[in-house]
Amino acid sequence: MAEFLSLLAQSRILPPTDPGTILDIVLRWIHFLAGITWIGLLYFFNLVNVPAMKQFDAATKGKYVPVVVNSALWWFRWGAVVTVLAGFIYWALLLAKEPPETIGRPGSLMGGVMGWWVLTVGVAWFINYFLLKKVPAVTKNGYIVALIVTALALGILWVVVYKVMTYEGASNRTIAIGVGGGYGLFMLLNVWGIIWPNNKRVITWTKENAEKGTPIPAEAAALGRQAFFASRSNAWLSLPMLFFMAAASHFPIFVGG
């Protein structure tokens, strides 16, 4: 008991006061909250909404989609933007400290790394976009989409780890965020490049159909299918994405070039 009481006297709350640590935790907290909103709603769409929609008749869809799905998509796409922005700033702050002073000038490689990183993910996503939107054979078979996305994800992993972030003094943390964040950026592009624009049109048509009886154009089926595959790809990509996010601080796999 005496030992316990003396421990009480010794323990205290003393938060870090340096602005860098506080900024990091604020960015991380925003990243968590926005990321849970984004990916949580992604899981809602994949695990709940897709099977539920199969049970609805046209009249129910006309009520449900413009109200519930529309609102969920609002939180989903803006949650995605906030998540990626907060994460990107956090990563930039880390890159600004690399390589360590003992090896080179900190921050000197930042521009190059970010440029190649954006280019790598951008090219990978554009291939995905082109195949989903312009090659009808791809969206006929889910396994082909899975194969394409797996190949692109492995490609991003390989380029980021073996080509972009090979400078001396690169830390496990920055490389792991480079890979996980690369998947995150890919997913954001899917949200704003395919899922939202396609759904926006389908929602408008569904609403007009319910209100004025205008027929839903045949194009809607193809747009819905593209959006479905982009959403399903994102759900699967979130698994390695979250692994690399957690590995950044807690599982040193990249020893650095």
């Binding site: 323990s11 709603l41 695990l47 609805f56 979250l242």
Partner: protein
Amino acid sequence: MNLLAQAPVLLPSGWDTTLQMALRWVHILSGITWIGLLYFFTLVATPLIPTLESPARGKVIAAVMPRALWWFRWSAQVAVIAGVTYWILILLAERAPLARTLLVWAALITTAFGIQLLMLRLAVLTKSRRAFVLAILTVVGLQGHLMMKLLPYSGATHRALSIAVGGGLGFFLLLNVWEIVWPAQRGFLAWCAANPGQPPPPELSERLRRAQLVSRASFWLTFPLLFFMAAASHFPFFVMG
């Protein structure tokens, strides 16, 4: 050295590092499912589904809610079990008095939850959502404060204590899911299935109203919960000695 530079991927070999990473990953995936669905209920379903006209409303409730609630309540279980296992591994590594720590921790949460059950019977608190949420925040704030005072042991780290407080909120939320929100929603779904298009009887609507208060309080509690989870590894505010 040159060869190493060309092959920068090297998995950690310790089984404990791998086990911790697996637990962390499961915790993150199930936690996102759980809290993401809580955000869906709070931000989308609760304000919007009641505005749908009948019979669409009944069909939406019957198709969406059972699935969403299934993933919600079971991912909550998985998130808490993975998290508590992870926490126990840390406590063992720090040679913490395991039984005392877990007992005090669980007793504080159960007490806070018991106080909430009493609060739900006080009309003065349940009449206003804001008053109820503020009262709950005070109770769990006290729960966290007492944890900080009562849990420290010789050699306690910031990480173990930050998880105690954040995970304490998580356990409180799990009790809310399984003891209040799910039983009320289960009753509501059964009513909707048996009496399509009918409003629920007063006793059931009162239970639902209370469950929604608890759900709203849970929504706000996720903010400090996630702060303490993130702070465990990245914002050391707790100092021993």
